[in-house]
Amino acid sequence: MAERAWSKIKNISEVKPIERKFEWWGPSPEEARKNLVSKPKGLRDKGTSLKEAVKRYVRDGINLGIGGFVNTRIPVAAIHEIIRQGAKDLTLSFQSESLTAEWLAGAMILDENHVSIKRAEIAWWAYEVIGLAPMLRYLAKNGMIELDDYTNYGMAARFKAGAMGLPFIPTRDHGGTDMETTNRGTMIKCPFTGRNVYLVPACYPDVGIIHVQGADKYGNCRIFGPLCTCPEIASAAVNTIVTAEKILSEESIRQYPNLTEIPFPMTDAVVHQPFGGYPGAVYGFYWFDMKHIRMFREICEEFRKTGNKDKLEEYYNRYIFECETPDEFINKIPPEDRQEAIKSDGGQPVIL
């Protein structure tokens, strides 16, 4: 029998510990399994439009698992479509995100009755080189979002536990920090070594959104460059929506099965979406559009400082609400900026 344990963290920092009664912030392992078991397993064409996929799987109150890392291979097209259609009381789960989370938070600030984030289980939310995340700062300061902090490995391991069908996974981090005093993980005395080890609960999103370089119509996915935590999120999620730069043939998938990072049973919708991760970077296709990223952050920062929503509203209308499809968003990006982003990738080698 494993025994509850504690590190020696006490009165070392200023923050007050919080007591959380454990509850799943999405499906339990049993619910997630039941759902997968009930799906028909044969190879079937999952090709659809983003509009259809979001309409079918994204509902109010779900746990949304966001793929990619910061602004690398992020599911931009899917996030924009979710904002267009609207979704309330979302729980966000990811390791490190930037634009995707800020876009959702900005939509919430513009109209809480259309998009809202109830809580987020995360490791990191900001812009790296460009600075902190204005929308997160605003929501956190005003107590408008419930947060649950882990390390990047902690979140990756939580999705991995989900992908493995487990209720939790032991990690060698979080202990001795204020994540131990505030998050939903718990320290135990290891039943084998007798030493302390930190357990983090698995994370099973209701819906995973993932952007990849290549997928076939059955949902077998190939990823190049950083895998981030995409394979784990796709497998942990009850339903996974995949957008892909390129649609691959079944023959190609069967020729190089070792290259499949996400197997077909773990995906539910496949959308062909070139530039689906833009203005983030997609290895082998395009690099960051720093100009657009900075522009959006500056608009958010101005709102945070002044409370004036005019420019924010203008941005959302122009780049999201007035776009019927993700292609319309891409067409609003100056062609020379897109060309620069393609050139800056340097033609990284991918097998597609």
Binding site: S7, S13, K16, F69, D149, H174
Partner: protein
Amino acid sequence: MVDYNPYEMIAYTGSMVLEDNTIVFVGTGLPIIAAMHAQRTHAPKLLMIYEAGSLAPILELGLPLSVGDTRAFTKACFVKGLCGVFELTQRGVADYAFIGGAQVDKYGNVNSTMLGQDYSKQETRFPGSGGAGAMAANCEKTIIIVPLERRRFVEKVDFITSVGYGDGSPDYREKAGVMGAGPYRVITHQALFGFDETTRRMNLLEIAPGLKPDDIQNKVGFELIVPKEVETMKEPTAEDLRLLREIDLEGYFLGRKINR
């Protein structure tokens, strides 16, 4: 004497701290610049890990702006995702963690999560742990960059994100369930700090030319251990500066100013 700014001094000092034939797990910005400088000078066999999933890349596209940047993945020996590299780290592959933070205390505990006492209403929200918490836990030695200001070198950090020596007790890290040995160096532009072996408290190792230990103590909100003899920090040469500026061609990280 050559003219350098605080960021260049930090990057140079970071480079000097790293050793050849080791693996360093790098955070965005100055840690990457320091490691690239080390590779080009005294540590050609130094290798990097990037948390989005790459081991030992050759950075031929230039300085990565993100630890998930395509530029951090070119010609790597191994590319997977976060689980891949953090599990290698948990196993013991990474000699150094090289992280930044907003606050540090005398035991090398680092805050990069929030300011305030109320977790449910955070006065200032920082990005959060990201990789840092796991790196400080499980890389063997942790190197920390924090700007040398009183509000950042504090008696108590608001939130411990990356575990150091905790409250200083000898078994703190063991009870925390972490594997790495703990904080090793804290780098600033005017002082290099280490940690006393018996008390695990921060001590002063080196100071910038022209400064006295008191100048440093005045910028630190807790009592430093100051040995009788404090070494002088080595300054970058003109060639070091040329290299550093060539690494950060676009001036993303070396151009910014520190509040004095």
